[in-house]
């Protein structure tokens, strides 16, 4: 009997998710023994035409990482959706929009200007910008279009399962592969990770006070952090209370606060709003002015609370205020 065929693809991503697959180490040998990887552009020399040549549904499963922000990415994932029986959104970007999703605080024009006009490393006067269509002696050339709005994978195609994390923890990947190979998958739409908050398994849990009362929110890079005490109790913006468990808390073990890459539990619709709610309510004052001062220590609410999830949020992006309101 032939082995099930598997594809892996990347969209708007940093490559860290590909690295996570490599981090399976010798575990990858078990994977290769059990399945045939027929498409994996980062590692193997297969082309789009090889995917097109597959029958619909011939891929047992396709892992797609990265957010969707260009016409080319959209075409590829639509193609892979047709060819795959199951699609797994792999990592924060595919699941929630991820770091590239923060481009939704701005727009396509500003992104292009920043990359092709404003960066200090550009040669002076060189403001050449890629255009989507150009004519050369040989004929017309086309490039993919960058979208105004970064999207999550499930805003573009139907997604069967989600592997959260930036990148997904190796243990979660192994568990997911095991579940796929043995056919013991949970209901469609499930996030393949524990459905509890990170604090549940945090080593510092005992030092978390019953009632948090923060007098000053501190920034990690400007603070000498105690390696044992609950980070929230130290005034650091640790998003453990609202973030899904399953990573083994490597950041907190390295004395850095959780930034929320595993996203929300299934009980939360909008991660950023929930994180804002949890953190704001710990501000230790009942006086309005003092509250404003304390909460003023959180310099970038959008970047902090929606770091990995702006496209998946209820508002999806920043909007242009109306003329009256935009002053």
């Amino acid at each position: 009997m032939s082995k099930p065929k598997v594809g892996l693809y990347w969209c708007a991503a940093c490559g860290g998710c590909e690295e996570a697959v490599v981090d399976l180490a010798e575990g990858i040998l078990d994977v290769v023994a059990a399945v045939d990887i027929v498409f994996w552009p980062v590692a193997l020399d297969f082309k789009r035409s090889d995917v097109e040549a597959l029958a619909d549904g011939e891929l047992a499963v396709c892992f797609i990482n990265g957010a969707i922000r260009s016409s080319e990415q959209c075409e590829m994932v639509e193609l892979l959706r047709r060819k795959a029986q199951a699609v797994i959104a792999f990592g924060s970007c595919a699941q929630l929009g991820g770091i590239p999703g923060l481009a939704n605080v701005t727009n396509r024009r500003s992104v292009m200007d920043e990359a092709y006009k404003n960066v200090p490393s550009l040669e002076k006067g060189n403001t050449v910008e890629p255009i989507t269509e150009s004519t050369v002696p040989e004929g017309k050339l086309e490039l993919p279009t960058l979208w105004e709005t970064v999207k999550t994978l499930d805003q573009v195609i139907d997604v069967d399962y989600y592997l959260p994390g930036c990148p997904p923890p190796v243990e979660l990947i192994k568990n997911a592969l095991q579940a796929i190979l043995t056919g013991q998958l949970p209901p469609k739409g499930t996030v393949l990770a524990p459905d509890i908050a990170l604090c549940e398994h945090c080593d510092r849990r005992e030092s978390k006070p019953d009632k948090l009362s923060v007098k000053e929110f501190k920034r990690a890079h400007l603070t000498q952090i105690d390696p044992k005490e609950c980070l929230l109790a130290q005034g650091l913006l640790c998003l453990g209370p609202v973030t899904r468990d399953g990573c083994g808390t490597p950041c907190i073990k390295a004395n850095m606060p959780c930034t929320g890459c595993l996203g929300p539990t299934s009980h939360v619709q909008d991660y950023g709003a929930k994180a804002l709610s949890a953190i704001a309510s710990t501000a230790g004052s009942n006086d309005e002015k003092e509250m404003e001062t304390i909460l003023g220590g959180i310099v970038d609410p959008v970047g902090t609370f929606y770091r990995y999830s702006l496209p998946a949020s209820l508002l999806h992006r920043r909007y242009q205020p109306t003329v009256e309101g935009g002053k």
Binding site: N107, R109, T145, W147, E148, I279, E324
Partner: protein, 165 residues
């Protein structure tokens, strides 16, 4: 663009109000029994305490068609549950900043302390807020201009798929 910012006289704001059971909802009830008239633009949702108001409710209301959200709770020190309104205020302070960064105009989301006896304050606040939101115009996130007015190259294909939310 013209449709997005057009303020025709016929625009009636839709405002979702979350009123706490013990103070503001009772005040709204009082305004009703006292036959005070006020703008009919507010849809009131009764919650047990302003501290129960999850910021997600506010975003969901805006997402699903509200042009504004009004929150009413007990005056500081008067919360039926001791501290709930302080929690509401802390969240509101931070949420206001976050909404501003996302381009939602100030004035679309408002927090007021209204005691059970202050029926006339319910009337005043609802009338004021209705006028504020009427001036701001419809929120209409789905159609809202997401980009500065200047042209943006040959992005017609982008507009077809990624140009909107």
């Amino acid at each position: 663009m013209s449709e997005n910012t057009q303020k025709s006289d016929s625009f009636e704001p839709r405002i979702v109000a979350f009123f706490c059971n013990w103070c503001t909802y009772t005040a709204a009830d009082l305004a009703g029994t006292a036959r005070m008239t006020y703008a009919p633009n507010v849809r009131v949702v009764r919650i047990m305490c302003s501290g129960r108001l999850d910021p997600q409710f506010i975003l969901a209301a805006l997402r699903d068609g509200a042009d504004g959200v009004l929150i009413g709770g007990c005056h500081p020190g008067d919360c039926h549950y001791q501290e709930g309104n302080y929690k509401a205020l802390r969240r509101f302070i931070l949420l206001k900043r976050m909404l501003a960064s996302l381009g939602i105009e100030e004035g679309r989301v408002r927090l007021e302390w209204i005691a059970a006896s202050e029926g006339e304050k319910v009337q005043r606040v609802i009338n004021e807020m209705t006028e504020t939101v009427r001036r701001l115009g419809p929120l209409r996130l789905e159609q809202r201009q997401m980009i500065p007015a200047e042209a943006h190259g040959s992005a017609h294909a982008a507009a077809a798929h990624g140009g909107n939310v």
